[in-house]
């Protein structure tokens, strides 16, 4: 608060429930009481978080006397038009999200003149979510915001709040580069919140098969661990990695609770049993994205009131949703990053009381790596969130938006860019007809957008937005929402779609209407859709013939197709496969940019076993993707990787780390494997292409990362977290290094030199 009062830009990186919200709410209210024209813009990554904050801030402002009113309002896609006008005209603190700022505020900034001219504070809550490609877009939206603030004569102070990540200050400065011109950011990470001692336990399930090393199912162990806490009346949050796991765990825990309360002989049909089931249903809840907002609000309330004792959740509850204090957190599986682990573990701990975090490991190599070296969690710094707002694929379209917002004078320097880079980018756009350069009367020309279409509408800052699916019960009531990409996986006819542990069977899927009709059933199985990935690179550009032999590597446009041919039925509790059904639904297609590398002859000669080749290529692809993401400052989720058999211009079933290995794909890929890296957002963001352009530099870094790892023969850190390769193909680090060294050599010869 002192730093804020001194007018400094501040990043708060303290634990959950340490009072971060008050740190921006109080200065905003103070500023408005001093000057009724003062305004604050509060940016939240999701609409729900914004609304929660508005609620909590209104409780604070509600106690003010009438003549000192401080208006707090939400401005998002769901705000009705009349309230939008009121928010612009009268609210002092406005909660919105990057999407709305990008499309609803900045292009119409003249309607926001009063707000922008009076802007005192810019609040960026949950700063750590602004990373990767999304973060790079947000950085550019903020660049445009800053330019307009300058235009209206305001220089707001930045107050950012972040969860535990490495170097949150650096993230704030890359998102708001003008901060560094103002003496840099002040980082507050000294946590004085009343936090008691926390015990962390890592549970590794027992090995059931000595030969394969398969361990007991981690969901079952999670059920056991959570039940101990449940019986002791400890308020517990169980974090699962997938939505399906949330549904399974909710159902298991309810069954356990009900069985105990209805006595050993009480069947589910008896009155006793019914009552016990109802009690269990209110004491144990599930929580995940896709539930309707009303249901989510109701579960949050039940948690705060203590009515719900145990909640199984996905990362949806990881963000700052207000649920009060919990005593224990159970993590079903390693969340994938140390940052997410501590973020979730931080959900436990009331004022000064001790808390417990239990992590139950799955059989996956990454989890087992954590099991072997639990110090991995404690000794190393949490991961850094990376953004690259200067990625041309992101930067250039946003400059067009800026020119539409206000013509860019040719002597103007855009915030966060050097004068030279500004000129470079403007001339680049003008040369391609995306901007027009207009001469001025005295050499003071400017760059403008010509044409009626809105440049902001053409940019989807969170990737493509397809209408999602609604899940309807027999009465036509909407029960839940499912993302477009997940539709074929969860809503194919015959699928069991559980909501808070209650199973519904999908009877019909109306693809065009984006509706799935379900009916409640009592099934003792759940369903898992099988998906297959096919990748093809078209219009490939190989480095020219002047640079020597290329060994089939290059860049181009990729056509990625995900097919869902069928689904498996898995019995509850035992998890045995009890049947299979076909699925006929449209494929999901992605057109994007990609880079590919054929396995060089040298590596082919050294690895004669086809399966070993395929596995080594897949492991190398994993490592390349993770290192490339680090070098390109994007999120690992922004890139995809696959290994195809033969030159990728022909269709081939691809191996990918996210699916169980496919026999046919393995055989194909074993012949002449090609590694493909592709951008995950439609149309591409230049990431894979840029990785290719790094040439030998990329491989140097990958090899250094892989060989520099302290493990014996390859671990998830060096071979990629979801690597099935090591387990399924028996490939060690040596084989992977053979591939990488050969690729490096080929890159040197091929002439894709570092630019």
């Amino acid at each position: 608060m002192e730093a804020i009062a001194e007018g400094r830009d501040v990043v708060l990186a303290t634990s959950t429930a340490s009072g971060k919200s008050l740190c921006f709410q109080v200065p905003i209210i103070e500023a408005v009481l001093r000057d009724p024209d003062a305004r604050a813009l509060m940016l939240f990554p999701t609409k729900a978080l914004g609304r929660d904050q508005v609620e909590s801030m209104r409780q604070l402002t509600g106690s003010l006397p009438r003549d000192a009113a401080v208006g707090v309002a939400t401005y998002d896609g769901d705000t009705p038009p009349s309230q939008r006008r009121a928010a612009r005209a009268r609210a002092h603190a406005i909660a919105t999200n990057p999407d709305m700022l990008h499309r609803g505020v900045l292009p119409h900034h003249d309607a926001w003149g009063r707000v922008l001219a009076g802007l005192r504070y810019l609040v960026l809550d949950e700063l750590h979510t602004y990373r990767g490609l999304f973060g790079s877009h947000v950085g550019n939206v903020l660049r445009r915001l800053w330019r307009l603030c300058r235009h209206y004569g305001a220089r707001p102070q930045v107050i950012a709040c972040s969860a535990t990540i490495a170097e949150p200050g650096a993230l704030a400065e890359s998102l708001c580069p003008w901060i560094s011109e103002r003496g840099g950011v002040t980082l507050v990470d000294e946590d004085t919140s009343p936090c008691g001692p926390r015990k962390v336990m890592v549970v590794n399930p027992a090995v059931v098969d000595e030969i394969t090393g398969v361990r007991r199912d981690y969901i079952k162990i999670t059920r056991g661990v959570t039940s101990v806490l449940r019986r002791s009346g400890v308020a517990t949050l169980a974090f699962c990695r997938t939505r399906r796991a949330v549904e399974l765990l909710t159902r298991y825990l309810r069954d356990d609770e009900a069985a105990e309360h209805s006595g050993p002989r009480g069947g589910a049909r008896s009155g006793d049993g019914l009552q016990a089931q109802q009690q269990a249903n209110s004491a144990i809840r599930g929580y995940r994205g896709g539930y309707l907002p009303d249901r989510r609000r109701e579960i949050e309330r039940a948690l705060r009131d203590g009515e719900a004792r145990v909640v199984a959740s996905t990362n949806a509850l990881e963000l700052g949703v207000d649920i009060g204090g919990m005593d224990a957190v159970v993590l079903a599986g390693y969340p994938g990053t140390r940052a997410a682990t501590w973020q979730r573990a931080g959900r436990a701990g009331r004022r000064g009381k001790p808390s417990l975090a239990v992590m139950v490991l799955s059989s996956s190599p990454l989890d087992q790596f954590v099991g072997a070296e639990p110090s991995f969690l404690f000794d190393r710094a949490v991961e850094q969130a990376r953004v690259d707002p200067l990625n041309p694929e992101v930067l250039l379209p946003h400059i067009r938006c800026a020119a539409q917002e206000l013509p860019i004078s040719q002597h103007e320097v855009l915030p966060g860019l050097s004068a030279q880079d500004t000129t470079l980018a403007l001339e680049y756009l003008a040369d391609r007809g995306a901007l027009f350069h207009e001469p001025g009367p005295d050499g003071e020309g400017c760059y403008v957008v010509v044409g009626g279409e809105s440049p902001a509408e053409a940019i989807a800052i969170r990737g493509a937005i397809e209408e999602n699916f609604s899940v309807l019960d027999p009465a036509g009531e909407v029960l839940a929402q499912v993302d477009y990409e997940d539709g074929p996986l969860y809503l194919h006819p015959g699928a069991i779609y559980p909501i808070e542990g209650r199973p519904y069977e999908v009877r019909e899927l109306d693809w065009e209407g984006r509706k799935a009709s379900v009916r409640p059933v009592s099934a003792n199985y759940y369903t898992v859709a099988v998906s297959k990935l096919r990748v093809r690179v078209v219009d490939e550009v190989e480095p020219g013939p002047e640079s020597g032999p290329t060994h089939g590597m290059g860049t181009g446009y990729a056509h990625v197709v995900r097919t869902v041919p069928g689904f498996k039925k898995i019995r509850l509790s035992t998890h045995e496969n009890i049947g299979f059904g076909p699925i006929t639904l449209p494929d999901l297609e992605l057109h994007t940019t990609a880079a590919y590398w054929g396995l060089p002859p040298k590596a082919m000669a050294e690895l004669h076993e086809p399966a070993e080749r395929a596995g080594a290529a897949l492991a190398a692809a994993h490592a390349m993707r993770f290192v490339a993401a680090m070098l390109l400052m994007c999120d690992t989720g922004d890139l995809g990787h696959a290994v195809t058999g033969g030159h990728p211009s022909a269709w081939g079933i691809a191996l990918s780390g996210t699916q169980a290995p496919d026999a046919l794909a393995t055989i194909e890929a074993g012949g002449y494997p090609h590694i493909v890296l592709f951008d995950r957002n439609p149309g591409g963001a230049g990431l894979a292409v840029h990785a290719f352009a790094m040439g030998p530099t990329l491989f140097d870094r990958v090899i250094a990362t892989v060989t520099g790892c302290g493990c014996n023969e390859g671990c998830p850190t060096c071979m990629g977290p979801s690597t099935e390769a090591a387990e399924q193909y028996g490939v060690g680090r040596d084989a992977m290094v053979v591939v990488l060294r050969a690729l490096r050599e080929a890159a040197v010869v091929g002439g894709a030199s570092p630019a």
Partner: protein
């Protein structure tokens, strides 16, 4: 990697260069302002830049316009200046249908420079980046002209032209977001036009009204969507070929501002002497909303006379209009405390249309609370097509033991108190 390096690489693998599209050099400062003057009388000829469309249209003299505007909108007490009562304003933008995010490309304004002469000032954009320069000049010129005694006259300007202009002024930093630039009384002609002619023609667009009421037929004119298309064509490549597109829009805009003045004058005339009963009723309602109730009642007189005639029956031609006129006049009388007159009109409506819910209820209330004749009130209330049970119960109690007179008698007495 530097941005230069990344852009160079993007050039190789990404979107291809489409070839430079440097702009042609338009007018030096990107804005052209053109002035023309004309006499208000049609006989004196019209400037060639307007084409022939306006040749047969008379424009109001300054004092006539001032008077006309007073009967179209509520204006400040001091009244408009008889020398320069108003500036007629119209914008052509790149936005469609009320879309307020659009470039202002052509601004037309016209005002009186003498009792019988008008000047048409027009600004046109020759470069997208010069919108700020155009708006700054418009603001300066209009700011000098308009004020407490010189109104701004538009067609649909309340929801389109003025908010858009003000937002664009803010956008370019010409006006601060907290002030209200171009503060002056505003007459949006769409409002009285709708009051007078809603549902009495295909629509209430300016072009339609010109044809129906000004006998102004535009030749080779451009429609709304076409304007946007022409303007973009011009701005994308301002040269000798596309300037034809701009010229079409300019002509359209000049006719717009001048026909606003003519339309104001015509509407004023129709308010004074409506061409039929419906227009008479609507004009009276409009005047009543401008707080000119005396004028409104005077205008309704022919209809009220017909309503007062006991020999006419409810089914005669135009009875609905007469009944509505009676209710409007009764409402004015009630508001202004002329209770006997109000009661007479309600009773006349009850006589013409037995059971009319509004008239029966109003008359019953009057008889109960003002005239204090509960038995008569009960007769009237009970005869409504939608009687109110609570009122009936209360009146029965109050009326005891007086016998209830027949409703026809009560209505006849109150409808014709002089007889």
């Amino acid at each position: 990697m530097s941005l230069a390096g990344r852009l160079a690489h993007r050039g190789k693998a990404g979107a291809a260069k489409t070839g430079s599209r440097r702009r042609h050099r338009g007018a030096d400062d990107g804005v052209v302002r053109e002035t023309l003057e004309l006499s208000v009388g049609r006989g004196s000829g019209r400037p060639a830049a307007l084409g022939d469309d306006l040749a047969e249209v008379d424009l109001p003299r300054a004092a006539e316009l001032a008077e006309a505007l007073h009967s179209l909108a509520v204006l400040p007490e001091a009244g408009l200046s008889p020398k320069r009562p108003a500036v007629m304003l119209d914008l052509e933008t790149t936005g469609l249908l009320g879309q307020v995010d659009a470039l202002v490309c052509v601004v037309g304004a016209t005002w009186h420079v003498a009792a019988d002469r008008m000047r048409v000032e027009q600004w046109s954009l020759h470069r997208v980046g010069s919108e700020a320069a155009l708006l700054a000049d418009v603001e300066e010129v209009l700011g000098e002209l308009v004020g407490p005694r010189t109104a701004i006259v538009t067609f649909n300007g309340a929801s389109f032209d003025l908010p858009l202009l003000r937002r664009r002024l803010v956008r370019h930093g010409i006006a601060s977001p907290t002030e209200q630039p171009l503060a002056a009384p505003h007459v949006d002609l769409l409002t009285p036009a709708r009051r007078l002619w809603r549902d009495r023609g295909p629509d209430c667009r300016l072009g339609t009204l010109e044809m129906r009421h000004l006998q102004l037929h535009r030749h080779d004119d451009v429609g709304g969507a076409e304007v946007v298309e022409l303007l973009w064509r011009w701005l994308e490549e301002p040269d000798a070929a596309t300037i034809e597109d701009l010229v079409k829009v300019q002509r359209h805009n000049r006719i717009d501002v001048l026909s606003l003045a003519a339309l104001a004058e015509t509407m004023h005339g129709r308010m004074q002497s409506p061409i039929d009963a419906i227009e008479r009723l609507r004009a009276a309602r409009h005047l009543d909303r401008l707080q000119r109730s005396a004028q409104a009642v005077a205008l309704l007189q022919p209809l009220l006379v017909s309503l007062a005639d006991p020999t006419r029956s409810g089914s005669g031609k135009g009875w609905e209009v007469a009944v509505e006129a009676g209710l409007v006049a009764a409402e004015i009388d009630r508001r202004e405390g002329r209770w006997p007159e109000a009661a007479r009109r309600w009773a006349q409506v009850c006589r013409r249309v037995p059971g009319h819910p509004v008239a029966h209820e109003s008359l019953a209330k009057h008889l109960e609370h003002r005239a204090r004749v509960p038995a008569e009130a009960l007769a009237v209330a009970a005869a409504s097509v939608t009687p109110c049970e609570r009122r009936l119960t209360r009146l029965r109690r109050k009326a005891e033991p007086t016998p209830i007179p027949p409703v026809e008698e009560v209505v006849a007495t109150w409808a014709d108190p002089l007889v």
